[in-house]
Amino acid sequence: MTERQQFSTFLVDGFLFGIEVEKVHEVASGAEITPVPLAPSMVRGLINLRGQIVTAIDLRECLQRGQRSADNPPIHLIVYTDDGFASLLVDQVDDVMEIDEDTFEPPPETLHGRFRELIRGTYKLAGRLLLVLDAEAVMNGISVAIPGQSDGVYEGVASGSPLQS
């Protein structure tokens, strides 16, 4: 008996992606996004998810797939990460698919660039490929290091802003 895994699937610039269904919290749309100036371009902004502030990350930007057309508002795919919730902005949300593990293949050698960094592998579906997105890799690929930030460090004790703790 082959193991089966459920994936939430979605589309980004025509590509079919999937994330393990247990990592997806919910799908939201229409949330008002507050932009974060000076943030990396992948960060579209912040949304209010029932009182929680969630960072919205544009997968188009992460995958370098160009701008989404204005008449196609992005859908928030809210996922669990090590650092709490995050919102991945996708073009369109598809079904939950149950897939045999034995159709899995590691990323093809020919895959380059961001796709290679952010994709854990592919499932061969009838007629198309499902790309498995590595949400942690997406999150870890985004960080800001502002030079000259004067965060004083005591010996052995990093002293960040308490507001952020």
């Binding site: 100036p37 502030i53 995050a86 005591y154």
Partner: protein, 783 residues
Amino acid sequence: MRDAPDPVCEAGLEREHMDDMGAIVKEFILESGENLDQLDRDLVELEKNPTDGNTLASIFRTIHSIKGASGFLGFSKLGAITHVGESLLSRLRDGSLVINPQIANRLLALMDGLRQMLSHIDKTGVEGDADYSALVEDLTHLQQIEPTAAPPATPPKRLPGTSSSAAAQPIDLNDETVTETALPQKEARATTDERNLDAPPERKETQNITSSQGNVRVDVRQLDVLMNLVGELVLARNEILQISSIHEDSALVSILQHLNFITTELQEGIMKTRMQPIDNVWNKFPRMVRDLAFQRGKKIRLEMEGNATELDKILIEAIKDPLMHVVRNSIDHGLETPDKRALVGKSAEGRLLLRAFHEGGQVNIEISDDGAGINIPEVKRKALERGLLTSDQARLMDDQEVMKLIFLPGFSTSEKITDISGRGVGMDVVKTNIERIGGKISIQSEPGQGTTLKIRIPLTLTIIPALIVTAGGDRYAIPQVNVLELVRLEEDEIGTGIEKIQNSSVYRLRGDLLPLVWLNVELNVENRPRDTCAAAGIEIVNIIVLRADGNKFGLVVDGVEDIQEIVVKALGKQLRGIATFAGATIMGDGTVALILDVVGLALHARVLAKLREQKPAAEERPEAQRFEEIEKLLLFEGPDDTRMAISLDFVTRLQEFASSSIERTGSQEVVQYRGTILPLERIATLLPERRLRPRRSKSKAEMNETLQAVIYSKDGRSGALVVGRILDTVEQNISNRCPPSRKGVLASAVIQGRVTEILDPEVICAGLSSLSHANQALVEAKV
């Protein structure tokens, strides 16, 4: 059919039992940790008063209960080590040994060992295989030492305090009620039946009950969850209040008032649960001070007042390291060695006082010592050596200003780098960290008398009042604690109010130059160039005067909304690197707004770095002394062989023109320069001449000479000032100045041995608009 126990059920029971054990072990570790902290303090206390039977009894009891629990829980190694310690303590207790620094050191080392083992148990569940045999050997060895000075006058099987004396004097232990209530009993028993002392587990239990009566141990995370929920409630209330302002329904309004009241009460109540006494930080100090004093060969008496002063848990965490650093500094730099103190007639023992109290909704913490005080000349010398100020600045500074130098980055007066302090990451980090939590730090010092450091911090951080502003179409929250005042410039004030020094704008706020920062420019949300601020397009400029790191700057925003209580929420880790933001909050309408980190913003805008450079000399000078800041001057010859100077900051370049190239538009002299037409001013016409009939200095023969001109610019407009002859540029503080001799002159001063008039750039720049009209009128009148 229940002939065999259900395996599933059994496993379940087993797990349950394990969980129970786990909980007991956790409880044991937590409690022992607190007990060890108390032991540290008690040991230090005992070392000071070796005959204090109460303290000794308390130490003995605590160690004994740790030993008992270790045996019960099966931590044999822990039990064995505490046993050795207990044996040594019993020698102290029966009076056959008297505590000395050596014994105290080993006992403190024992506490450290126990701490290590406990933390290992906490992490892994087992004792670990660290080797404590050397410690055990030392402790055993100390017991074998013959009783030295201890006179066996009292029977060896008695407590040194004896029950009668302990009962007679009122017990003045102030920190633990348990000790007070438990002691008399215990001592009474001790005299009647010595062996009972070795079996106090029941008593231990009763103590537990007394200490926890009315108290519940709550997981801090649980409190954080509650705090978050209250935060949500506050936000929900704000949303409803906003909606209710649209609908006018009296029933709704009255319910809302009730909701509002309850929410506020609840918020305060929950906030109180997060309050912790400052003693949670301070209880580490007796041990630390003792060890450091020992190391440095100093004698120090630590006094603490207001241990029960409460503040938010987060703040307690945040002030821990800064306070430690300050205390270390006092011991290392402030307090002198006993022989040095004797030389100046002070008692051999230095005094270090920590004081905490509430005042005006803030927590005040003072750290004072009666040491040598801050060595002003030494601080100056170091600051000069490290290039933190110029010798001219140093000469002008008063003592208070010099003291503030120790807060500058890269300042450290310690000759050698010690492990205690003097790493050069000293007081500036302390200051930054205190200011990060909205606090302030100030310093007072009297040479030979001591130093006092005062810290003021707010009670809580999670819900803060903030000013809501807009920039580039979005809202931002500025913590109210950073906001000093709001300045609103109407259309006609903008042109004159905002001035430019090279590339940066300043606003003159009651005589102080306030560097201006455009929020939309800094955040890159709108590309409005700074230069056009004075252009006609903008009707109103809102300046928020902010305090960052002790410096002031003005933040120009598009709009100012109101002051609101906001709930600070952390940003995701992808955004934490952006120093400009301290977090985010949810507004009444449900949208998210970012909270500005004022210090981070100032650093981002480089206004802080700039301020830090010029700060020593420029801080809060009255208007009359403004020109002292002028450091770089351009020297030139004025009319009639006089000497004049102007600040180089206003000069964009020097240019020579043939006098034949001067043209006229109307009555205004102009000259073509790089494709633009520059208005031309002459010193002689610009300044009111004192002479009634000005000497005719220019003849027709001079028409073909080359004129030297200074090109200056202001608000994007340039002009040329014809001067006699460019002489030099000088960099100096004008200390020997006289009041201005006439209008248009800031001051007269002796520069390079000559009396020199320093021109007011304002007057020259005013020539770009108004003065040219005035001149025109003047010329017309003459004609």
